[in-house]
Amino acid sequence: MKKYILLLPIFMLFISCQKEQISISTSISDLFYLENQGAKMPVLVEGNTVSKVILIFVHGGPGGTAIGFNNDENISKIVESKYAVAYHDQRAAGISQGSATSKLTLEQYADDLKKLILVLRKKYGADNKIFILSHSWGGLIAPAFLTEGNNQDLVSGWINLAGAHNYQLNDELTRAYLLSYGKEQIAKNIHVAEWKPIVEFSETHTPDYDFTISSQYNSFGSSVEAYIDDINTSGSGGILNLFIKKKKGFSTFWMLSNSGATYFSGLTKDILKSNYSDKLSLIKIPVLNMTGKYDFTVPKGLAEEVMQKIGSKKKRLIILQHSGHILMDHEPAIVWGEVVKFVDENK
């Protein structure tokens, strides 16, 4: 009996030992982990690696998941058939695992992104063209990464979907949009009972790097989308995907635990003062900005500022007419079609 108990750890080590597997195919599905500064983060590479183009999905949140939430049938059909997509679940997100020493700071997230690019280049070839595809909070990590040292040399382009590059400006714009659109809706007698408390709050609360106020605006930003009929909601199912569909490299309980870890880490308070507006001029690579007309969470004014201040010569802004914050879900055909077009032009 004793002998078998002693053999158990050896068995565990044996089945946990790693061998490198490299897949170059038109339809791959590789799952591996990136280990950096106390965090072990899953990366799911799916699609066409023969193309020598990899788009890194830098998800929203913080504490969201690219593997669980962003890897849906629309991106698979439109983007992965042509290029490869690396769904990267950040530290304290998805099924990433970490020790007590692992830091949750914006700089650390940007460093993780750099390390991921180096791993992808090593694993799939240094001749691969890497594109950053960021959404929401990912749009804060992206400029943090791109404006650091020579990091831009590692990538061929940045696709910025409803990115929040300046937190304070984000809150100010959310407030302004809620006020103007809310008053308009009340005047038209549409969802008056719902809009009234939102407008009252916005009239009395000015964003001032205050976490409670910022969280409230964030919460209003997502809840008001339910009162706008013009938003196309016939997408892939959104957040329900997390609970209904069985996905590779994803565990709902582990993701919820990580969301808790992010919430209690204080990261969401620390990033209130994050502002890359003045550093946007340093970014010279091609940029595609896409945002929803009805996005109150990260309003279109942020994408407009990126267009104004970015140093890139090749830049484009697309405002989707029937989208809120999760534009990939509201108008997937347009979003992924434009992404493919942008990569085609800049690879």
Partner: protein, 211 residues
Amino acid sequence: MKYLCFLLPFLLIIPAFSQNDSSFIAKNSLLLNISPLFSPKHFGTQLGIAKLLSQKEIHKRNKKTFEKERWLSFDLGFYSQKELHNSLFLTSSYALKRINSHGFYRQFRPFLGIAQTFLNEESYSVNDKNEVLLNKISGNFYLTCGFGLDFGRHFSPKKSKFLRDIHAGLLMQTYYPNFKFIALRPAFQIGVSANLLTFSKNFKKKIIFKK
């Protein structure tokens, strides 16, 4: 005096709950537990030894109504969750078991222990020279705690000398620290307990007679 007056109503109530207790030396047991663990995404097994700490039989109107038992156990377990990790854990639990007169029982089993996980997918890291390295072994050490909620069928030693019970339930395991927070690992558990050893040293079985 004032306090005694205050206590008097309570002292008068006590006889209403009067019970006759009797204790005698009974045979103790050391059990071997084997419990497969599973969920839609993982499987594993837990193997442990459990010792009976106390046993109370509650009788009403000269009839045994239920039995309460307290068990201390030490378990070694492992599970493998594809794409997440393999885990090896050592825990100690204190079980509170209530068995009805038909032999069916429910059990609440809080536990505490340690766990070592091993990633079961490729893992890469980058060193200070920006060189990419494939990690041979990668994992985390955690403190683990949680509880089990079991329902089962108890077999008396008279009926079955070897098999003591079969049970099924939920095992809620948490890991700490996962990014300075906890990570939840729920699983279903089915298991059997077998009689490993029977002895009578330093053990009192208590029988409580309620009116």
